[in-house]
């Protein structure tokens, strides 16, 4: 309750309210995430339920166009699924993969960055070289090799089931060095401050000093890059799915929907690619705009928090 009071009177909330870009981007983001997670309730059809899909409904135009039907607001895709419902489910898949990948890379990157920054020396050199190597391998190559090996080892059917966790791990693995470097840089600045020495004089062990004293003081830049990273992860997932390495078409994400409709753009069914594409652009844009505001507001040169 006290925390809520403090938050209500904080500079953070004050500047949020005064910035229309921040308010609108956060509102859109919040709405999209809410709609995505409420998809089973909101969506008129369940695109995962094969019994209600009729191939005769394929490639119906959006309802306001010639040949459109009222049942399908944004038309249907090539398999006869309602595009609006499929997009909602697809957005949910994209958000889960995006957040999951960011949480995965944050946990990995923060632990590595904290350890190598605080301990320094050889451990630092070792982890940072691994991070360099990881950075120099394009994640597409990693994704292609991993999914190829996985499909070979466990079969395509199993791959379709495991696609989501696999994508989370692949995207997470490819981006953790960003967190590791950011955290390490802040830790190097923090660890020589006197409050850390005071903690050492008290006799606290390294783990407590690292996680309880240093980590909270390095989280500001982490928070900022996290927003950008969510957008990045959603885009990476879309790119992978577009290349056919991501979510299978039976459980499409936004990327696989864009991919599926891509072949039909020139035969006139532009909506299958267009609407998921717009949704993807809007979703990543609002995250990036919000992250931009967050970076400004948390900048200690502009405001001392």
């Amino acid at each position: 309750m006290k925390r809520w009071q403090r938050f209500k009177s904080s500079y953070f909330l004050y500047s949020f309210r005064r910035d229309p870009v921040a308010v609108s981007s956060f509102t859109v983001f919040f709405l999209l995430v809410a709609v995505a997670f409420l998809a089973p309730v909101i969506a008129p059809f369940n695109p995962y339920d094969t019994t209600i899909i009729d191939i005769m409904d394929a490639e119906i135009a959006p309802s306001w166009m010639e040949g459109g039907e009222d049942r399908f607001w944004l038309g249907t895709d090539i398999q006869g699924r309602d595009l609006f419902s499929t997009m909602l489910y697809g957005l949910r898949t994209s958000v889960i993969i995006g957040l999951g990948a960011v949480i995965f890379q944050a946990i990995l990157g923060i632990s590595v960055g904290l350890t190598s920054g605080y301990l320094g020396g050889r451990i630092d050199a070792f982890f940072m070289r691994i991070a360099d190597i990881q950075f120099s391998i394009p994640y597409l190559i990693v994704a292609i090799i991993t999914s190829a090996i996985f499909q070979l080892a466990f079969g395509v059917g199993r791959f379709e089931q495991m696609a989501m966790p696999l994508l989370i791990v692949i995207i997470g693995m490819s981006e953790w060095p960003k967190y590791a470097r950011t955290v390490r840089a802040s830790v190097l600045g923090e660890k020589n401050k006197e409050y850390v020495e005071a903690a050492r004089v008290i006799g606290l062990n390294r783990r407590i000093i690292m996680f309880r004293h240093i980590l909270p003081n390095t989280l500001t830049p982490v928070l900022v890059i996290s927003t950008i990273q969510v957008a990045q992860a959603v885009m990476s997932e879309a790119a992978l799915s577009f290349l056919g390495l991501g979510m299978p078409i039976t459980k499409p994400s936004l990327g696989s929907l864009i991919n599926a409709g891509f072949e039909y753009v020139f035969s006139g069914s532009w909506w299958i690619t267009f609407f998921p594409g717009i949704l993807l652009v809007v979703f990543t844009l609002v995250i990036i705009l919000f992250g931009d505001w967050l970076r400004d507001v948390l900048n200690p040169k502009l405001y001392k928090g």
Partner: protein, 339 residues
């Protein structure tokens, strides 16, 4: 010297820092050959001293002379290159952090910068209760609250403010909180690293009085690091003068101010401005302090000392106890050529 009678004894303490960087930075080519070159800062060189229970030993010297390094090495924040530290006769410089724990409640530290020494993400209550809970896991939470309130009262910060964050306090109040944190574990010995130099002059006196009150009430022993000679005269029992990582002179405050022995101490004391007194014999030192990376041979002070002769250039002077109880490291004093 009887170590167990002294609270703390330091013998031949040496602390060097390697600032040469990675292996690639160390390599250089000289006359067609690859040579490995290391850059070492010799921060503390062969310092020996002891601290008696209940006294305030001040360490003075200009910036970069190794005062703070000495303090941090004593507390085990830096491992010494060689030499020994004894606490009530028990050697503590080689202990692991686990073995060091019982001494952590006896030795505490107060830092220079009250803006950096308190964790900005913790409120005062958490800052103060952390050491108590860490060293006494079985303590009840109401006892902790009581203790926090008691110590906050002692240092003159209203216990009502315990849920506030450090940035909500002024510099002087923060320094009081910093002192409170050191007092939370009921230590016997406190190292104060320039506790007042970051504060306004009007606040300095308050903090010094607070430190002296706490000493009286709790029987504390202080090692006070400072470069403010008027503070030293006001609070200390004995004074150690350091120059370039070496101990020049160690004497009681009266002895040191009335009859300084070492040429550097003389120069240092003559630089104190005095109100209403015209000081004709202000000793000017020539040159600059040499870098601690390349220490001069012999006495570290020889290239600035007006009395230096050939022996000073070659031989490092030993710390010598004079009949007055003063310790001084100077060939001239040893030979009796200087009063």
């Amino acid at each position: 010297m009887d170590k167990s009678n002294h609270l703390l004894t330091i013998e031949n303490l040496v602390k060097h820092f390697d600032i040469s960087g990675g292996l690639l930075d160390q390599l250089s080519i000289e006359k067609g050959r690859v040579k490995r070159h290391r850059t070492i800062v010799k921060a503390v060189n062969d310092v020996s001293l002891f601290i008696k229970p209940g006294e305030t030993l001040s360490v003075v010297g200009e910036s970069g002379c190794g005062k703070s390094t000495l303090a941090r090495t004593i507390l085990g924040l830096y491992p010494p290159e060689s030499g020994q530290v004894f606490y009530r006769g028990d050697r503590i410089d080689h202990l692991s952090s686990q073995q060091m724990l019982p001494y952590r409640t006896k030795m505490q530290m107060i830092f220079q910068d009250p803006y950096a020494s308190l964790n900005p993400r913790m409120n005062v209550e958490r800052i103060l209760e952390e050491p108590v809970i860490f060293h006494n896991k079985s303590i009840r939470s109401d006892e902790v609250t009581e203790k926090v309130a008691e110590v906050m009262d002692l240092v003159g910060v209203d216990p009502k403010w315990s849920d506030r964050y450090p940035h909500e306090f002024s510099g002087g109040q923060r320094q009081r909180i910093s002192i409170a944190r050191a007092l939370m574990v009921d230590p016997e010995f406190i190292v104060a690293d320039e506790p007042v130099s970051a504060l306004d002059v009007s606040i300095q006196a308050q903090i010094l009085n607070l430190l002296m009150d706490a000493q009286e009430k709790r029987g504390l022993t202080y090692l006070l690091i400072t470069h403010d000679l008027s503070v030293v005269e006001h609070v200390s029992t004995r004074v150690a003068v350091m120059y370039l990582g070496c101990l020049c002179e160690l004497a009681t405050v009266k002895e040191l101010y009335n009859s300084p022995r070492h040429p550097y101490t003389k120069a240092l004391l003559s630089a104190i401005p005095r109100l209403g007194v015209r000081q004709p014999k202000h000793i000017r030192l020539k040159g600059e302090v040499p870098t601690p990376i390349n220490l001069p041979p012999g006495c570290v002070f020889h290239n600035r000392c007006t009395y230096a002769d050939d022996r000073c250039i070659v031989e490092v002077p030993k710390l010598l106890e004079l009949p007055s109880g003063t310790f001084v490291a100077c060939h001239r004093v040893e030979e009796g050529r200087l009063d």
